[in-house]
């Protein structure tokens, strides 16, 4: 009689192979292992807990349906993260169509305020717990428009190249470079001002 494998002890690639054969319990183990990362990526892009939960779950459903297409060119979690990012980008595009352009986006089109921003020396990590620093970064990210935040996330956290980001966001490399430049300068300014406020 075949014994039930201990899924928690299997490596990702073994679980993927079992899932590709239709083993739902193996897939459940993959979900349990990587759900936090996928949710965190969706949350970083959507800035809304319900949407992040919904889209990360949708990504898992798509992952299950397309599992046969997974060839192992990248790690499973990278592959799943790409699915999540694409779903988030689709959702953000839908939302963008439904609302007016943000002031930041208008600034970018008209030459951008980032050119006039003075260069700052950001050192918010000084004397800060890592968790507090992460919270500050999160608050600063919250203040960016979704276009700038998305470019920053894809470049700094997903470490995608300009060309790849441009493809995913359906715009030119020049636009990506400009958005990334603005986003970094704005983040530097926001993080420096948070430090200044604290020192007051």
């Amino acid at each position: 009689m075949a014994t039930q494998p201990d899924y928690s002890k299997l490596a990702d690639d073994e679980l993927v192979k079992a899932s590709q054969k239709g083993d739902m319990q193996a897939f459940e183990e993959l979900v349990a292992r990587h759900r936090d990362k996928l949710y965190a990526r969706a949350y970083s892009m959507m800035r809304n807990e319900n949407e992040a939960t919904d889209l990360s779950q949708e990504a898992w459903v798509k992952g299950w349906q397309r599992l046969v297409q997974f060839q192992g060119d990248s790690s499973f979690v990278t592959w799943m993260t790409r699915i999540t990012i694409n779903l988030c980008l689709d959702q953000l595009r839908k939302q963008k169509r439904q609302r007016a352009e943000s002031i930041e986006a208008m600034d970018e089109e008209s030459g951008g305020v980032e050119r006039q921003m003075p260069v700052v020396n950001i050192n918010p990590s000084e004397g800060l717990e890592r968790s507090e620093l992460r919270k500050r970064i999160d608050r600063a990210l919250d203040q960016l428009s979704y276009e700038h935040r998305t470019v920053l996330i894809l470049h700094e956290f997903e470490e995608l190249e300009y060309k790849e980001i441009a493809k995913r966001m359906e715009c030119s490399i020049g636009t990506i470079m400009s958005r990334l430049f603005y986003a970094r300068r704005k983040m530097a300014s926001l993080l420096a001002s948070l430090r200044k406020e604290e020192l007051k």
């Binding site: 739902m24 459940e28 979900v31 349990a32 759900r35 936090d36 949710y39 965190a40 949350y43 970083s44 807990e49 992040a52 939960t53 990360s56 779950q57 949708e58 898992w60 459903v61 299950w64 349906q65 050119r115 260069v119 700052v120 020396n121 950001i122 050192n123 918010p124 990590s125 890592r130 968790s131 620093l133 992460r134 919270k135 970064i137 999160d138 990210l141 920053l152 470049h155 700094e156 956290f157 190249e161 300009y162 470079m177 400009s178 990334l180 430049f181 970094r184 300068r185 983040m187 530097a188 993080l191």
Partner: protein, 169 residues
Amino acid sequence: MKTDFELNVQAYLDGELPENEVKEVQAVLAARLGSQELLRELTQTRDLLRQNEPQAPLTDSRDFYWSQIRRRIDAEEKAKTAASQPGWSFRRFFAPLITGAACVFALVVGIGKFNSPANSWSPVVIENMSSETTSMSFRSPSENLFVVWVYDRNEELASAQSAEESLHD
């Protein structure tokens, strides 16, 4: 141009600057203090973000989160199975057409009977030619009113089934 140069400084930092432009940017960086400061700021921001990605813990329990995914997978597989059944696409595309035709037919027959001066109290016969639809009528001679509801029989069955399933859940 200043703007292009700033973007080139960034591309230099990210390792995305074409090789033939690297030396040019390095030369300007060596000569201009402002450019060096800009590069420092961009580098600090990049490193700070890469080393401190914000965390967003998922509050749902493992079982609850998985159960929602499982439900969606099952629902989509059920829909896919239904879609692959023979005659599904025929029903999908022609059911609205048949429903519309049945509706018009029922109205024409009904109104014709209703307006008949010879026998204003005669019962109205509604003939439904479609197996996909069903109908229900209401007549009020005092209000000079005649209404026919035509609806999809499959949808009615499906909603009854789902109501039954939710009772079992």
